[in-house]
């Protein structure tokens, strides 16, 4: 089905498969349509229908409260074309940059499913075909009858077959409940991606500050892997702040310990730092406090030539951004985050 998009600066045309969400069809065609979560919550991908009919695949999407149906607005990430469409997107839209990883639909098999903590599972998705992605990106994962959810990759590999993930159990999260509900080793998943703009490339040439709450650490692990591959630590400083409630919620401490040139601080918000943590992980630092407060305390005076990456639950992300803008005085192009929780 032919879809025409009139954007603020120019028009685009692309084809969508039957049932395919308009957003995914456009991204797949190499058109950088606006999105953030790509899963129905943020409202960023709203468009106005000028002609044609769409089918809303998730009429109760939280992002719907940001659209005006009486003005023919809809979410491109939740609606599929029923016939040829003409849409208006009230933003500047460009083709994806040459060399960028264009998102595609792909499928794969769940491998190495393991409990990392009482409520975090780690697994790898072994793809049927290799895919490129940038450090810090995410993909949408779905399985039989369960809608796409966004998860950041923890690894970095060009042309790789394995994408590594961590998933935190959420009471209302259909995908996480499915994953925690039984042993899913060998299950088949569908993926769409890679997505997201909070990416790291070594050509950046800046010191890196990573602030992560809980499973937001995933994208930071990908950035650390990319930085290691490029010997980035020899030229630039890298700070990581990993916020969790108690030591019981910690994961990837062994992996974090394998980056001795990065300064890594684990912030515990709900308990004093246990002596055993200091003994067990001598190359990591532990502090008590909320992760943005710990970062603020320890980063004071060190913000020269810094690019910050932030991920985690929305309140933690907002608090960290506040510190980075008001205390660190970073410019907004040096604060990178994706809001998809």
């Amino acid at each position: 089905m032919r879809i025409q998009v009139n954007a603020r600066n120019r028009g685009f045309e692309f084809d969508a498969l039957p049932g395919e969400r308009v957003l995914y069809a456009g991204l797949r065609a190499g058109i950088d349509l606006p999105y953030e979560c790509a899963t129905g919550t943020c409202g960023t991908c709203k468009a106005k229908l000028l002609s044609g009919r769409v089918q809303d695949r998730w009429p109760d999407a939280p992002g719907r409260k940001l659209v005006k149906p009486q003005a023919s607005e809809f979410l491109m990430c939740q609606c599929a074309a029923e016939e040829a469409l003409t849409l208006e997107v009230s933003k500047f839209v460009y083709p994806v940059e040459p060399g960028a990883c264009v998102p595609q639909t792909c499928s794969g098999t769940l491998r190495n499913v393991r409990a990392l903590t009482h409520d975090v599972i780690g697994f790898a998705l072994e793809l049927d075909r290799p895919r490129d992605f940038d450090a810090g990106q995410f993909v949408l994962l779905a399985t039989d009858g369960i809608a796409y959810r966004a998860y950041s990759m923890c690894n970095y590999q060009r042309g790789g077959r394995n994408l590594d993930f961590v998933v935190k159990r959420k009471a209302d999260g259909a995908f996480s409940e499915w994953l925690f509900g039984a042993n899913r080793e060998g299950a088949r998943l569908e993926a769409f991606g890679p997505l997201g703009k909070a990416t790291f490339e070594p050509a950046l040439g800046k010191n890196l500050l990573c602030i992560a709450g809980g499973s937001g650490l995933a994208g930071m692990m990908s950035i650390l892997a990319r930085a290691t591959e490029a010997r980035y630590f020899e030229r630039y400083k890298v700070w990581v702040f990993f916020g969790i409630r108690t030591l019981r919620d910690a994961f990837f401490l062994r992996e974090l310990s394998s980056y001795p040139k990065a300064e890594i601080t684990v912030a515990l918000s709900e308990e004093d730092v246990p002596e055993e943590a200091i003994q067990a992980w001598p190359s990591l630092k532990f502090e008590k406090g909320l992760v943005h407060e710990v970062a603020k305390r320890k980063m004071a005076g060190k913000y020269q030539n810094v690019r910050a990456y932030v991920a985690g639950p929305p309140p933690a992300v907002d608090a960290a951004i506040r510190v980075l803008l008001l205390d660190a005085k970073l410019t907004t192009d040096n604060i990178r985050y994706d809001k998809f929780s």
Binding site: R10, I321, L326
Partner: protein, 243 residues
């Protein structure tokens, strides 16, 4: 003009923000920058997020959602913000704040905001207001590009190509947006697109050469306008990397 009360001075904390509904119903956000007060549209021009929930350090206003920023003195966009804020001058009388008139399309415009008052006044003197019904065609490909336009209200769309071989060339919908800017380039080139009003639209039409003469008399303003014009052209021609 009737005086429209916005709020009391004490309602807006020092270096803070407050959303107010002025008498007459206008909603705006008021910023207190060390005892000076500035009024702006209440919601972010990006995605309609209330700006009163944003961050304000006394000089830069930041929308918390996507970190668009503006200079609180002018409403000019900073950093990754793509458009200026609609500004509402605030007048203080004793412990009360009143609306002090509305800024014009030229004042808030992406090319001209923040220029010296005398220069803005001369440009305003060149501007002819035109009102067009929906469907009106302002120019066609090949027409001489003598004038440029500043949108005040309404909506204008562009089509590239001729006859039935056309493709969409974008659209204008924000107060202060400038189009037909070829009139500001050397050699008065011809139009490369057609411009048509999608809705009843109010525009300011300004002769390009006359505007350039005004800017020659204020080289600082001329430099600012040409830098902004270059950025504006790049935004239309560029790929995503140039945002």
């Amino acid at each position: 003009m009737a005086k429209h009360l916005v709020c009391r001075v004490a309602d807006v904390p020092e270096n803070g923000l407050r959303e107010c509904e002025a008498e007459g119903g206008l909603k705006l956000v008021v910023a207190n920058a060390g005892g000076e007060f500035f009024g702006f549209q209440a919601v972010c021009p990006h995605q309609d997020v209330p700006l009163c929930e944003g961050l304000f350090d006394g000089s830069t206003l930041t929308c918390h959602m996507h970190l668009w920023q503006w200079d609180v003195r002018t409403g000019a966009p900073l950093g990754i913000a793509e458009t200026p804020l609609q500004r509402y001058p605030i007048a203080r009388e004793g412990d009360a704040l009143y609306l002090g008139g509305e800024s014009t399309a030229l004042d808030v415009g992406e090319l001209f905001n923040g220029l010296a008052a005398g220069t803005l006044q001369k440009l305003t003197g060149l501007a002819k207001r035109e009102n067009h019904p929906a469907g009106a065609v302002l120019y066609r490909p090949g027409d001489p590009a003598e004038d440029f336009f500043v949108l005040d209200s309404g909506r204008v769309e562009f089509l590239i190509g001729r006859g039935d071989r056309t493709s969409p060339g974008g659209f204008m919908l924000k107060k202060g947006e400038v189009f037909g800017w070829a009139a500001l380039l050397e050699g008065t080139p011809a139009r490369i697109a057609s411009a048509r009003c999608l809705e009843a639209s109010s525009l300011l039409r300004i002769n390009g050469r006359a505007a350039l003469r005004v800017l020659e008399g204020d080289p600082a303003a001329g430099f600012t306008v040409m830098r902004r014009l270059a950025a504006l052209i790049a935004r239309y021609l560029a790929s995503s990397g140039a945002r």
